[in-house]
Point group: C2
Chain length 357, copies 2
Amino acid sequence: MTSRHPDPLAPVSPSAGKTRKPRSSRTGRSTMADVANKAGVSAITVSRAFKRPELVAPDLRARILEVAQAMGYVPNQAASALASARSMTVAVLIPSMTNAVFVETLAGIHDALHPRGYQILIGVSHYSPVEEERLLRTYLQFQPDGILLTGNDHTPATQTYLAALGRPTVHMMELLDDPASYSVGCSQFEGGRLMTRHLLERGYRRVGFAAVQLDPRTLARLEGYRQALRDAGLYDPRRVWQVPEPSSISLGASMLDRMIEDQTDCDAVFFCNDDLAQGALFQCQRRGVRVPEQLAIAGFNDLAASAWTTPTLTTVATPRYGIGRESAAMLLDLMEGREPPQRRLDLGLSFVGREST
Amino acid sequence: MTSRHPDPLAPVSPSAGKTRKPRSSRTGRSTMADVANKAGVSAITVSRAFKRPELVAPDLRARILEVAQAMGYVPNQAASALASARSMTVAVLIPSMTNAVFVETLAGIHDALHPRGYQILIGVSHYSPVEEERLLRTYLQFQPDGILLTGNDHTPATQTYLAALGRPTVHMMELLDDPASYSVGCSQFEGGRLMTRHLLERGYRRVGFAAVQLDPRTLARLEGYRQALRDAGLYDPRRVWQVPEPSSISLGASMLDRMIEDQTDCDAVFFCNDDLAQGALFQCQRRGVRVPEQLAIAGFNDLAASAWTTPTLTTVATPRYGIGRESAAMLLDLMEGREPPQRRLDLGLSFVGREST
DNA sequence: CGCTGAAATGATAGCGCTAACATATGACTG
DNA sequence: CAGTCATATGTTAGCGCTATCATTTCAGCG
C-alpha cells in the first residue's frame, strides 16, 4: 500500500539543512523555508520573527527580516490561515453600496479593522434576506474570523449558519433585544418619532410621510412617525406614501409632485431619508413652492449636502460612521476572546433643526 | 528519526474507508474527507463534484451534493487556495472611499467580479503612493489572482512588486501609453479641455479654475484647462486656485468666497469636480450671485445631484461605473489566460450642458 | 474478441504555514 | 554548584484541499 512511497526513512538533510530545494514553489515566490535556509534558522523561527516578534532575539529577528526583505519574501496568507485556523478576514454584509449611509458605515469598519490587520470581505445583499443568505454561504468558505451584518431581518437558514459557525457576529444599525446577540446602532423608531414630534411642536398639523425602499429601518421610522401622530390624534393614513423603489434625489422630486397631485393638503412632509428630502427641496424650488412657509420638509440621516441646500434641511443625524467603527471594535473584542463592555450599544441620534421646517 | 511516528505501515481503512476520524477538524466544521466518507467516495471526487462537475457522473454528483448539504459542509477556501495556488481574490486599491466617484467604480468592479466568484480586497490609499505601496505589500500576502490600481503614480517599489508578482494588473481611471500595461479610463486632460472650450464658446473670457486634492487626475484636468485657455490667448495664472485639501461641498462654498474676495473678476469658474461646484452653487444662492448671469459655474463628473441644483450644473460625465466594470472584465480575461480585446480602453467622456453656464 | 480510448474514479503527495511539544542555553537561587 | 526556571530555538506533524498520475470500466471497432 505504501509501496510507491519514496522510502520514508531516507535521510532528509541530515544536519544543517542546506540541501532542500533551492528556492520558491509553483508560484515562483520564495517561501518561509527558503528564508529560513538562507538565514540559517528553522522555518518556525522565521514564522515567529513575523508573527510573534517578542519570542525571537532582536538581532536574529533583524537578520531574518533583512534576508526576507532581500528575497522579496511575502508570507502566504492561505497557508497561514490553513495552519492557524485564523483567516484575518471579516465578512461584512450590507444592503447597498450606492447608499452613502452604508458606504460611511463601511468606512468606519475599515478604519477600525485595517490597523489590526483584518481584511474586509464585502457582500451586497440588495436589501434581500435571501440574497444575504446566499452571500453568507459564499463568505463562509473564507472562514471569516467574524461577521458584521446589517439589521435584524435574516432568513432562518442565515441564523442557523451563524449559530453553527462558532464565530462572533455583530449586528449593525438596529439594536437587538435578544440578550445573547451583539448589536450596535440607534433606534430608527425613536428617530421617526423625534422628528415627527418636532414637526408637531412647530405647529404643523397635517404631516405626511414618504417611505421608499421599505426596508425594516424605513418601516421603523414610519412606525415612529405613526406613533407620534396617533399620540397627538392627528394620524391620517392618506398622508403616507410608500414606494418600494430605491431611494434617489429624483425619486424625491417625483414623490413631491405626486403628493401635490394627491391633494392631501400636507403642511409638512417627513421624508424617510435625506436623498429624498433633497430631491423634494429641489423640486419645490423649481415649482415655486415656498419652504417652509407653504410646505415644511424634513429628512433623515444628515448627509453632507443637507446643510447647504436652500433652505437648509431639517433632519436627524445618524451615527453611521460610528456604528461601523464601534461594531468593528466590538467584533475585535469578540474575535480576540474578550467580552465587550456591552452587548447592545446605542449610539443615539441627534435632531438637526434647520430652515426647512 | 521517524521513531515517534505512529507506524506508517499500519492499515488505514483497508477497504471501504469508514474508520477514519468521525468528523470535523479543529474548527468543528466538517471537511471534504467527512463528506467523502459519508458518501462512500474518495475526497477528490467530492472536490470534483464542486469544482469540475462535468467530470463526475450526474447521479453521483447529486448524491455528493446532497450529503454535503446535509452535513452543512462548506469548502475551506484557504485550503483550496493553498493547494491550487488560486485565491479567487482581487486586490483593489483606490484613493478614497468617501469620494462617490471611487465608490461607483468599486460598485462596477464588484458587479463584474462577484458573479465569477472572485472576492474583492479593498485598500484605501488616501491619495498617497507610499501608502499604496504599503497596502500592496499587505495584499500580496493574500496572493490575489489579480490587481486593480487607480491611476499611474506609483512608487518604484510598487512597480517592482507588480512586475515580480506575475499576476495581471489593470490600471483604472487614467490611460497608460506603455504598450505592455493594461488600462481602462478616460482622458482627464481632454475633459478639462472640453469643458474649458465650452466656456469659451459660450463667450466667457475670464475663466477661473478651482483645483483641490491635487491628485494626478485633478492636475490633468487643470492642464487641459490651461491648454485650452492658452490656445485662446486667455490664460491668466491669477485665476487658478489650488488647494490640497480633500474635496467637499463646504470647501466649494468657501472657495467661492475666496474667489470673490480675490477680485480676479472671473466671469466663469470651472471647478475640478461636482462636489465643489455644487458647494459654490449653493453659496452663490446664499450670497445672491446670479448664475450664470453674473458668474458661470461648471463642474466635473456629473454626480446625481448635479441635475437637480438651481440652476442645474453644467459638467462632464465620467464613466466611472463603466471603468470599474470594464477594468474588472479586462482583469478577468487576463486571470483566465485570455488576452483582452485591447490593452488600453478609453471609455470617453460626455459633455453635459445645463443651466449654470 | 482482443484492442483502443474515452470516461469515471481513486491513491498519493504536497501546497506553505503554525500548533504543540521538545530541547538547548544560561541566569539565578539558596 | 545542583536545581529551577525563563528564554530562545528546533522537530514533527498536520491544517483541508487539489495536481498528478494511476486504475478501472466499458463502448466501439475491425
